[in-house]
Amino acid sequence: SQTIHQWPATLVQPVGSPLSLECTVEGTSNPNLYWYRQAAGRGLQLLFYSVGIGQISSEVPQNLSASRPQDRQFILSSKKLLLSDSGFYLCAWSAQGADEQFFGPGTRLTVL
């Protein structure tokens, strides 16, 4: 069966520090991968999605970036964090051509 992992589970970082959140999927190949952010009191906002290695689409302009160095690995990064980057970051995957997405456990990021 397929599983999706995210780490770290929680992270507290100072403003201006770099960020790297990792997401890996097991049990499937060539998945579509997604990064979402869930800010307090707001819904899930799609940040990035990827349909293949090295292929990244950005939905919202910001100081975050994403990379997909391997088929089942999706990384969310920032060179300098802002206070507004605080939130709950969710990674998700879907099979190619399928509509249902499966979500990871999330990373809670607090920027101080």
Binding site: L44, A92, D99, F103, G104
Partner: protein
């Protein structure tokens, strides 16, 4: 751009009460519709989905949702809630054959025992 609205941000019910959570979307084309649920401390998981056919969709744990195309709505219902239904519920939409999900703002449901 499409948008999804969930009008109730917080709902508090007693056990055995009936539940209806509203969801409206703005996209005019053919859509797929989803309800996701996030129980405390757990992953976001699919509750039910509508792609085509019978507009009344039944999901897990006694939940159902009705797609009303003329109203651009996909409301979630349950006749009798339980304490274990306490969770946050998200409505989501994607365009037919598309991969991009647009989520509503979520509704936090608290069921009092």
């Amino acid at each position: 751009a499409q948008s999804v609205s969930q009008h109730n941000h917080h709902v508090i019910l007693s056990e055995a009460a009936s539940l209806e959570l509203g969801c409206n979307y703005s996209y005019g084309g053919t859509v797929n519709l989803f309800w996701y649920v996030q129980y405390p401390g757990q992953h976001l998981q699919l509750l039910l989905k509508y792609f085509s056919g019978d507009p009344l969709v039944k999901g897990i744990k006694g939940f159902e949702a009705e797609f009303i195309k003329s109203k651009f709505s996909f409301n979630l219902r349950k006749p009798s809630v339980q304490w274990s239904d306490t969770a946050e519920y998200f409505c989501a939409v994607n365009r037919h054959a598309g991969n991009m999900l647009t989520f509503g703002g979520g509704t936090r449901l608290m069921v009092k025992p």
